[in-house]
């Protein structure tokens, strides 16, 4: 049955993309037949490969629609179910779906999962995963690049605008039953301002595109310079020297991967190079910023404000001083939190997981550097 599925998938995958010499009509017939087969197949839950997840719902769990998508191809075992009887399912679990860093990828977990083929991560960042270690156990790792980029770029712009134009404070003032003075919130101009993007990958480029819609002047710093076409498409100017970008930008947006090279990338020195009217936006990882240095910079008004979707740790302890500053916005890592993007990520995780189970090349495998 699995073999038949594999062959048919090649035919109908990507609707309309039919093999040569196979007519469109026959593709349609095949796909209809296949869907009937899958429906019949789908009811036989016990034939589905097993996948370990954290949980559904609750604080960091999968949303219901995500779990439903996964269940079309996998029998899901929650971490709690697994722990209740590791030997029952342990030898059959082939995939681990990692969502918001859960379940925790401890070595003790892997000793109980001898059949594990893949850790499929939801999200593009895999700094929390020890890829060489897992590979040494014969377990591959995949992530979800590209599909996260639009939503993350949107949040970066949302944070930039909310900070610059004091939208959150405005709302608080509007809602507060005790407000008497409604007019004193003045913000900083976004149109025509200089946007400095540190990390011009897939996400950074999209942030640049959005900034350009506001007639912003775009500067960027990246490990490697991008092609002239890429630069021209978004009107971006390369700053080989990150310090030049820091000095000129009105808004500094961090869109880098977390690596040993980018840990603490923005510290005392970098913050003091920034304009006192500048805003720092971080949609990368909390550890890219030296948080103590940021706290001091915000308290002393070395920079105007910061807007962070990521911190270290997440969440910050409730008494952390960053939480109590007037000139900061913090959101709880919601960069990809739209139903549409979440489901795209989950579909990608499923595609990678199916490839692993079927012994095919894993589309988004993360190789050690």
């Amino acid at each position: 049955m699995l073999l038949q599925l594999h062959t048919f998938r090649g035919l109908f995958n990507g609707f309309g993309r039919c093999e040569r010499n196979v007519s469109f009509a026959s593709c349609v017939r095949v796909s209809i037949a296949l869907k009937k087969n899958i429906k019949a197949y789908g009811t036989m839950a016990q034939d589905k490969p097993l996948a370990l997840i954290s949980y559904v719902g609750g604080m960091h769990g999968l949303i219901q629609e995500a779990a439903d998508l996964m269940k079309q191809h996998f029998k899901l075992i929650t971490h709690q179910e697994f722990l209740q009887n590791p030997s029952l399912h342990g030898t059959k679990i082939q995939v681990l779906f990692s969502w918001v860093n859960k379940p925790e990828l401890l070595p003790s977990l892997f000793t109980s999962l001898p059949a594990l083929k893949l850790v499929a991560n939801g999200g593009v960042g895999i700094d929390h995963i020890d890829v060489p270690y897992l590979n040494s156990l014969g377990v591959k790792v995949s992530n979800t690049p590209l599909v996260v980029s639009d939503a993350t770029a949107d949040i970066a712009m949302g944070l930039l605008l909310a900070s610059a134009r004091r939208i959150i404070e405005g709302h608080q003032i509007s809602m507060d039953p005790k407000t008497v003075d409604f007019q004193s919130l003045i913000g900083t101009e976004v149109t025509g301002a200089t946007l400095g993007i540190i990390g011009m990958g897939h996400i950074g480029l999209r942030i640049a595109q959005r900034g350009r819609g506001f007639d912003m002047k775009i500067l960027y710093h990246n490990r490697n310079r991008r092609s002239p076409e890429d630069e021209q498409a978004v009107g971006a100017t390369y700053c080989k020297n990150m310090e030049d970008l820091l000095r000129e930008a009105d808004f500094v947006v961090l869109a880098v991967n977390l690596s040993p090279q980018t840990t603490g990338l923005i510290g005392h020195k970098e913050l003091s190079l920034m304009k006192p009217t500048a805003t720092l936006v971080n949609v990368s990882r909390g550890l890219v910023v030296d948080q103590d240095a940021l706290l001091e910079a915000l308290q002393k008004r070395t920079i105007r404000a910061a807007a962070l979707d990521v911190t270290y740790p997440e969440p910050l302890p409730r008494d952390h001083p960053l939480l109590h500053l007037p000139n900061i916005i913090i959101t709880p890592h919601i960069g990809t939190d739209t139903t549409a993007t979440t489901l795209k990520m989950v579909q990608m995780m499923i595609d990678n997981a199916l490839a692993a189970v079927e012994g095919r090349q894993i589309p988004n495998e993360v190789k050690p550097k």
């Binding site: 949107d154 949302g158 134009r165 039953p177 003075d181 007019q183 003045i186 900083t188 101009e189 919601i334």
Partner: protein, 326 residues
């Protein structure tokens, strides 16, 4: 010499009126009198005043005030909206009126997009959770609506509406628009906008409905029960125009019963809403206190423009931004 400069009546210098840099711009050409000083002795001060500067609707150009300003030449209002002015009445007194078109457009368009994004991505709720006493996230409650690639329906495609479209295009949004008259092919192509002759079509197709039209009294309640029910249940209404465009009772009902997903309003009726108003307690209503033009840069541009108009009026020259009687 300062003593020779003409007098202008203003609301006040300070947090509720003009910040110091704005006052300095006025002082280059005028001696400024705050309303509170004026009211101490209207008979004494009135005859000196040649210019009335209105900022955020204050001072209100009521007949009783205008009657005490026999030397008044011009009413200079900050912003583009003039619906707060009784234009025929003021003109009948022999007074000119000026506003400040164009300079407000960028800041307003920026704010419109900011509201759209903040509402779509539940940033206020997100921040409440990130900074609240207990960090409890229920993922479904923070699931937002995708902005990239969604459909933005702009009602009112003037200068501000067009700039909003440009910004939306940066997010790969599909742009629909409805306007009294269709814009040129070049204008449409520049932002990839499609004209909807029928407002209902725009309402049915849009993920975000943006109100950016100039207010006329016949547009009161443009968005009511019927229009809200035509919108998608996942749609978000954004209003940066005037509160009266929206039937607020209908909006409250729509937000409470899930007829639309959310609303983001920089304008309401009245402004501000009385404390305890039902709109203020709805979790899916993002409301800001009419701050669409509140940036230092734009405020200074507005002030320069107002002063420019006032100087021309005092000298008897043509006023650049004169608001002519309709």
């Amino acid at each position: 010499m300062a003593a020779d400069k003409p007098w202008a009546l203003i609301s006040e210098v300070g947090e509720n009126g003009y910040f110091e840099e704005l006052a300095d711009i006025m002082r280059e050409h005028f001696q400024i009198m705050p309303l509170s000083d004026f009211l101490q002795s209207p008979a004494l001060h009135g005859p000196k005043i040649q210019v009335l500067f209105i900022w955020k609707f204050y001072p209100e150009p009521k007949p009783s005030l205008l009657a005490e300003l026999p030397s008044l030449k011009v009413v200079c209002s900050a912003g583009t909206g003039t619906d707060h002015l009784d234009i025929p009445y003021i003109n009948n007194l022999g007074l000119k009126i000026a506003n400040t078109p164009h300079v407000v457009s960028d800041a307003t368009a920026d704010f419109a997009m900011g509201l759209l994004l903040a509402s779509a991505r539940k940033m206020f709720e997100g921040q409440q959770i990130a900074r609240g006493p207990e960090m409890v996230i229920i993922p479904q409650s923070l699931m937002g609506v995708e902005v990239s690639g969604s459909t933005l329906g702009i009602i009112g495609m003037g200068e501000i509406g067009h700039k909003i479209a440009q910004r939306g295009k940066g997010f790969d949004m599909k742009i629909l628009y409805h306007n009294r008259s269709r814009r040129s092919a070049e204008d449409e192509a520049a932002v990839g906008a499609t004209y909807c002759e029928n407002l209902d079509d725009l309402l049915k197709l849009s993920d975000f409905v943006m109100l950016s039209l100039r207010f006329h009294t016949d547009c009161t309640g443009l968005i009511g029960h019927r229009e809200l029910s035509l919108m998608k249940p996942t749609a978000i209404l954004v209003n940066i125009s005037r509160g009266l465009l929206v039937d607020q009772d209908a909006l409250i009902h729509a937000l409470q019963s899930g007829i639309i997903q959310a609303a983001a309003l920089d304008v309401t009726h009245p402004e501000p809403l009385p404390r305890g108003h039902p709109l203020l307690s709805l979790p899916n209503a993002l409301i800001t206190p009419h701050m669409g033009i509140n940036t230092t840069t734009t405020a200074k541009k507005i002030m320069h423009r107002m002063v420019n108009n006032a100087v021309a009026a005092v000298k008897g020259l043509p006023i650049p931004d004169e608001v002519k009687p309709q």
